[in-house]
């Protein structure tokens, strides 16, 4: 069983490749990459001339909602959304019901992924039991069951002491602890960013400092313990400075940014559209500019969507009462190509790295490369494809996006997992 991707522009940052080449996939792996490869007997050949062939994209921050919230999303629908969006793997957060705070839940998610999933699924275990921030979850069991990181995402462990112990306890497992950095006293009751827009439209704001103080704390705790702390959905210019400083001092801190924090500002909230409500909130132009710069220079290691599906009833109505978060898997690549790469803010090869090689590196996963022997996970892009975001066509079960109707140029064309095209 083999497949030849013929004539595409191969961008493989891990191996320094950016050239028109063929990619031969066989037995689920990359077999060869080179100019004008010969197709073996019985090999399917896909003409991808004019397209861009990349290592499979990995979204390290996704909410698949299963078990417990299957009305929002399931492993089946969430992985189809991932495939439609050009992602060959996702890491799923622990805020399911029951919470993924023990090996049995991890086993369940992996079993569902095996049966229903069309892309690779990597569970993330809870840091604390029930995400309550009070006592450690059974972290060793979670690691053994296959969790690739730990996070109480959606909540932030407020006790510095408990978080310090979590960082220490997980050191032997060699996986990062992911921080949803939010001081819940500074962010109390917030619906959006604190600033001139919150003042005008009368919504409770969380200051950027609510994020920054926790990022500072977590960097100090990473330094104290020697652990790897990964900052989820970093959204402020201040947090960028802190991470940049931490990295310069040799602290093991990494960070991700979402497409929505890169392309939207708090001005979008003026409509009171609950699809502009997320945690952390949309910030200011000054912040988005700092985020783009940090993504380009590597201060921010990768892009992750924080795909957060919610049912319509949870995302219509009063802004104050709406759920936090938006879906992201099916809009991320087009947004990034259109808003960052086309205007020249981010080189294409850098974006490819931030979506493939870098998250793979952070989580210690297979993939992220098109070297022979690597998993046959490939994302093919069409840089000229014009798309209009239409939530009715999402594979995700949920439609909560602020990007409906956006016209974008550039889109994922093909998603291959284990050497085969996924048709979501």
């Amino acid at each position: 069983m083999s497949l030849l991707l013929r004539g595409g522009r191969v961008i493989d940052p891990a191996n320094g490749v950016d050239a028109v080449q063929d990619v031969l996939l066989a037995d689920g792996k990359v077999a060869r990459v080179g100019p004008r490869l010969e197709a073996p007997a019985g090999c399917e050949v896909l003409d991808v001339a004019g397209r861009v062939v990349c290592p499979g994209f990995v979204d390290m921050h996704v909410h698949l909602r299963e078990p417990g919230f299957e009305y929002k999303e399931t492993v089946r629908t969430g992985t189809r959304a991932a495939a439609a969006g050009g992602f060959t793997a996702v890491a799923c957060m622990a805020n399911t019901h029951p919470v993924n705070d023990n090996g049995a839940v991890t086993d369940y998610i992996l079993a569902r992924a095996k049966v229903e999933g069309v892309v690779r699924v990597y569970p993330i275990g809870a840091v604390t039991r029930g995400l309550k921030g009070e006592e450690l979850a059974e972290l060793a069991e979670l690691a053994e069951a296959g969790c690739v990181a730990f996070s109480d995402d959606g909540r932030c462990v407020q006790s510095a002491d408990l978080y310090r112990r979590a960082l220490e306890y997980t050191l032997p497992f060699g996986v990062p602890v992911i921080s949803h950095a939010e001081d819940t006293t500074l962010a109390r009751g917030f619906a959006m960013n604190e600033g001139v827009v919150s003042t005008e439209i009368g919504l409770a704001g969380a200051p950027a400092a609510a994020e920054d103080v926790m990022v500072a704390r977590d960097i100090l705790l990473a330094e104290l313990t020697g652990a790897h702390v990964h900052i989820a959905h970093l959204s402020t210019a201040g947090a960028v400075r802190l991470v940049r400083d931490g990295k310069a001092r040799g602290v093991r801190v990494t960070a991700e940014v979402t497409p929505h924090h890169l392309v939207l500002t708090e001005d979008a909230v003026r409509t009171y559209d609950p699809n502009t409500k997320m945690a952390p909130p949309l910030r200011t132009k000054r912040d988005t500019e700092a985020l783009v710069e940090a993504l380009a220079d590597g201060t921010i290691d990768c892009v992750a969507t924080d795909h957060a599906p919610h049912a319509l009833a949870e995302k219509e109505g009063e802004f104050d009462r709406a759920a936090f978060g938006i879906v992201g898997l099916e809009t991320a690549v087009s947004l990034l190509l259109d808003r960052l790469v086309r205007p020249g803010l981010l080189p294409l090869a850098t974006l490819v790295s931030r979506l493939s090689r870098d998250p793979v590196r952070l989580l210690g996963l297979p993939g992220g490369s098109l070297a022979p022997g690597a998993p046959g996970d490939v994302t093919v892009l069409d840089l000229e494809q014009a798309v209009t975001v239409d939530p009715r066509h999402f594979r995700s079960k949920s439609r909560n996006t602020p990007f409906a109707g956006w016209r974008l140029t550039g889109a994922p064309a093909l998603t291959l997992v284990g050497g085969a095209v996924v048709r979501p």
Binding site: E194, G195, V196, S198, T199, E200, I201, G202, L203, A204, G205, P207, T271, Y272, A313, E316, G317, E318, F319, D320, R321
Partner: protein, 312 residues
């Protein structure tokens, strides 16, 4: 110029001409209150629904009287004891009411943006009667009408708005309205009650009552909600009253003799306003309430009149 909007949601949306049209219309309708038979047929056959999700005496009554004097059929819906207490969502309740074809829905709700949400979802006219900490446009309009009657004009006047600016929809609506009419606005209060970046709305900020009230034409005192103490924004009512309460003595020493004292009500006597100030010669607080009916008549008339009704 004429009125073209479907809804009245926020003073921020209006231009000076629209604000003056509303104020002028209200001024001309005040005379109805003096008639023996307080009724004109302008909105006969029109239905106005008062959809109130927050307790309100003054505003709801004011809209109800305004509608009735214009001969509209007025229906009051309050959240307690309705389908809301059975768990129906705001949107569903609103859509159900809309299905009964009202001409105007007047909405009061604790969530900022609630009126805009209805305006987006419902085909009828929406009047914002106060949404969270966002805006309360009819309050600003009645304040403006009161000010013009006393001062004769808007341009060049200086107003101090004092108190909990951060949580005040009255302050926001007045800031927008007053700025558009060429007035100068100073907001004042302890820094914890001044919202961030408020200067970008074009106002001055003062952190001492004495500084705020010096040489202004109008002092608008805001109600201090007791829950601001629980939230840690001020140490005590006692301290607030001491530094931010408007007493006769402070007025006499720092304010101009022709200053107007306004308050959107309800007044915390002895906290933000000394009783002798609230009831004193500077105070136009009850005048504001009277103007409220005229302003709400003007709003209902401009939104619902002239669309097949009997006309004014």
């Amino acid at each position: 110029m004429g009125w073209t909007r479907k809804d009245l949601l926020a003073m921020r949306d209006l231009d000076a001409g629209e604000i003056l049209l509303l104020v002028d219309t209200a001024a001309s309708l005040q005379e109805i209150a003096t008639r023996e038979i307080k009724k004109v047929p302008a909105l006969r056959g029109k239905t106005v629904v008062n959809l109130f999700y927050e307790a309100s005496t003054r505003t709801r009554t004011s809209f109800e009287i305004a509608g009735k004097w214009l001969s509209a059929d007025v229906v009051n819906f309050s959240a307690g004891g309705s389908s809301v207490s059975k768990g129906e969502s705001f949107i569903d309740t609103a859509k159900n009411i809309a299905a009964m074809s009202p001409d105007v829905v007047v909405v009061r709700h604790a969530a900022s943006g609630a009126a805009a949400l209805l305006a987006r979802e419902l085909p009828c006219s929406i009047v914002n009667a106060g949404d969270g900490t966002h805006e309360h446009p009819t309050q600003a309009l009645l304040d403006l009408l009161t000010i013009r009657e006393r001062k004769g004009h808007f341009e060049g006047l200086h107003v101090a708005i004092v108190g909990d600016i951060a949580h005040s929809r009255v302050a926001r609506s007045n800031i927008h309205g007053m700025k558009k009419l060429g007035m100068t606005v100073t907001v004042a209060g302890p820094p914890t009650l001044i919202p961030p970046f408020v200067q970008e709305l074009g106002v001055k900020v003062a952190y001492r009552l004495e500084d705020a009230i010096r040489d202004v034409d109008v002092i608008m005192m805001l109600r201090l909600q007791h829950e601001r103490m629980a939230a840690g924004l001020i140490p005590s009512l006692r301290e607030y009253a001491r530094y931010w309460g408007l007493s006769l003595d402070r007025l006499a020493r720092h304010a101009r003799p022709d200053v107007l004292i306004m308050h959107p009500g309800p007044v915390n006597r002895g906290v933000e306003l000394a009783p002798e100030v609230a009831d004193g010669p500077y105070s136009v607080i009850l005048d504001q309430v009277a103007k409220g009916v005229a302003v709400r008549m003007a709003v209902l008339l401009l939104l619902a009149g002239g669309k097949g009704g009997d006309g004014a």
